[in-house]
């Protein structure tokens, strides 16, 4: 059965005009030609913004810090602050990447519009920058790059290149489910690191070898032109946050753990990787808890599972994370990790919806984790006011927290006059 048999040709013209142009737009953009795409702007004042501002007093932070609404950004997921700090790019689990601009530097965004409206995105969750200003966007099953995005985002037709073509990140038949929100970072070695969640709660036994080979349930790395792809991290379930320790270049990542084993196991994970190819235990173990379905399945030979550095509350959904490399927060936060807990979705008593802080010791191990910010979860009704998803830092050292439930970016700053 073809679509033409189902839909009159007149309708085809009207309904299918946009996608027919989508690939054409990609071709045009890669040749630096113009399309006729137009921007979608997000209103930054009015009812929506006022409703979000009413959430601010509920958010608890340590003494000396304050919380404000930075921007109204629908479905806000992973963030990338551009090297010059002019604009922050924000991914979604829908089909938009937002550019968030604070032109007058009053620390409140004055313009939010979609980035590259001429490109048809598919779950563009993960933006990240190289130090020389290339923006990468990891989608469900494609990776694009936008040179000098910080300067070209003002026009609807930024130059674009394909790092990984559509359908080449993972086999198309593995892309249908959840766990397809990618995160990327450019590492100290200049390579692009992309997390690939495995699509199941626990993958079927017959799939684990194939997944391990491709890097599904892992983190892959490649050159920024897409060549030299290899599996860097093995044995994770669904990581939606990773970052490099600026002190020694080691990769740290969060991992979300198995559902259906009860309210209190297995714990969420924060992991430290010290060399390429290390295995973190999944689907055999989760934070020291054995997964029943893999009890009888042979473990990979000659491989020692790396234990998590931090066991977080079960089901709190640890997602985006970033090392604090700026100066304006007090000394205790320097060189530590801020991570976002999205909050549980089916725990009897909900937990999470917070920003956590983990401090490191001199050997580079985790040395304690505490709640940094919470209050997005209404403890009385179990309802969310918001759900933190990712952490980023502005050049002034203040923190941005993306929230895909409220559709906002929150800013947490240390009060001036009290720092340094």
């Amino acid at each position: 059965m073809t679509i033409k048999a189902l839909i009159p040709s007149v309708v085809l013209g009207a309904v299918f005009a946009v996608p027919a142009f989508a690939q054409e737009n990609m071709d045009k953009l890669s040749k630096m030609q113009r399309t006729d795409a137009t921007f979608t702007y997000v209103e930054q004042s009015g009812e929506r913004a006022d409703a979000l501002k009413a959430i601010v007093p509920h958010i608890k932070v340590p003494d000396g810090f304050e919380v404000s609404l930075y921007a109204v950004v629908p479905d806000a997921r992973s963030m990338a602050v551009a090297p010059q700090g002019t604009v922050t790019f924000v991914g979604t689990r829908k089909d938009k990447v937002w550019s968030v601009v604070d032109r007058d530097r009053d620390r409140i965004a004055d313009e939010v519009k979609d980035f590259a409206p001429s490109v048809t995105f598919d779950i563009p969750n993960g933006p990240c920058f190289s130090p020389d200003g290339f923006l990468f966007i990891a989608e469900r099953n494609r990776v694009l790059t936008f040179p000098a995005a910080e300067f070209f985002f003002e026009g609807p037709d930024p130059a674009v290149g394909e790092v990984v073509a559509q359908g080449k990140l993972i086999p198309a038949e593995e892309e249908s489910f959840n766990h397809t929100a990618r995160v990327c970072r450019v590492g100290p070695d200049g390579k692009l690191y992309i997390s690939l969640g495995q699509p199941h709660n626990v993958q079927p036994v017959e799939k684990h070898e194939m997944y391990d080979k491709i890097g599904i349930g892992g983190i892959i790395r490649m050159n920024t032109d897409g060549s030299g792809r290899e599996v860097y991290t093995r044995g994770i379930r669904n990581s939606v946050g990773h970052d490099f320790n600026p002190a020694n270049g080691e990769l740290w990542f969060t991992d979300n753990q198995v559902d259906g084993m009860g309210d209190d196991i297995p714990p969420g994970e924060l992991n430290r990787q010290t060399s390429a190819g290390q295995h973190f235990g999944f689907p055999w173990t989760n934070g020291g808890v054995d997964i029943p379905a893999y009890k009888e399945v042979a473990r990979p030979e000659g491989v020692e599972f790396v234990e998590p550095q931090v066991n977080m509350d079960a089901h709190a959904a640890d997602l985006g994370m970033r090392f604090y490399t700026k100066g304006s927060f007090p000394e205790k936060y320097h060189g530590g990790i801020f991570s976002a807990q999205h909050g549980s979705w089916n725990r009897t008593t909900p937990v999470g919806a917070r920003v956590m802080f983990t401090t490191l010791d001199e050997e580079g191990n985790a040395a304690g984790t505490e709640v940094f910010a919470d209050g997005w979860l209404n403890g009385e009704t179990g309802e969310y006011r918001g759900r933190p998803m990712d952490i980023a830092f502005l050049p002034d050292g203040s923190m941005l927290v993306s929230d895909d439930f409220a559709g906002a970016i929150w800013r947490i700053s240390y009060k001036s006059g009290m720092s340094q």
């Binding site: 059965m1 189902l6 946009v18 996608p19 829908k94 249908s176 489910f177 959840n178 199941h200 259906g260």
Partner: protein, 192 residues
């Protein structure tokens, strides 16, 4: 097309696909606390990967939950949730969400005549279901519909009618159909 569809659906129900139990919406509201983080207590989705389920036909909701429970349909979250529900709880929670009313409004300047005609006989031009075992599509996130159509195309999700329709669709056509319904404005209200 419409007549054929209804005949097939009638056959399905006679074959006992749905448990056809009486559901209590008051009990169902309690069960729905397990659903609200993703689907909302009123059935208006809170995350893009979850569908809107308020005002959905009860038969459709029950059939899908039973499919997740039996493994006929798989999803890494829903499989876990449905496994913990009894048949009675499934009927109750389906009754709760079905006790809402969904209504839809096409965007300004959009004509119902341009709706994808392969879909309208079951899902309506505005994405409000006109068949007992078809879901509403109005206001569903593009990514959700795309994901489902691709699952039908790959055989990961199966349905007598949808598997065949999806098999003939290209990626671009799937995207266009999904965009059509995603652009409809959906309202869900609880009937008093």
């Amino acid at each position: 097309m419409r007549l054929a569809t209804l005949t097939i659906l009638g056959g399905l129900m006679l074959a006992g696909i749905t448990p056809a139990m009486a559901g209590d919406p008051v009990e169902g509201q309690k069960v729905a606390r397990m659903c609200q983080t993703c689907h909302g207590i009123d059935g208006l989705a809170r995350i893009p990967l979850a569908p809107n389920i308020g005002g959905e036909p009860k038969d459709y909701l029950e059939a899908q939950l039973m499919a997740f429970k039996t493994g006929a349909r798989e999803h890494e979250m829903m499989t876990v949730v449905a496994a913990s529900l009894s048949a009675q709880q499934i009927s109750d929670v389906a009754a709760w969400y079905a006790s809402h009313t969904a209504s839809a409004e096409l965007a300004d300047g959009v004509s119902a005549e341009d709706a994808p005609s392969a879909c309208v006989s079951c899902h309506g031009a505005d994405g409000i279901s006109v068949a007992l075992n078809a879901p509403n599509l109005a206001g569903e996130a593009t990514t959700y519909i795309v994901t489902q159509l691709k699952a039908f195309r790959l055989g990961q999700r199966k349905h007598e009618i949808m598997s065949e329709i999806a098999a003939g669709l290209s990626d671009e056509e799937i995207r266009a159909v999904s965009d059509w319904y995603a652009n409809v404005h959906l309202t869900i209200v609880k009937e008093e």
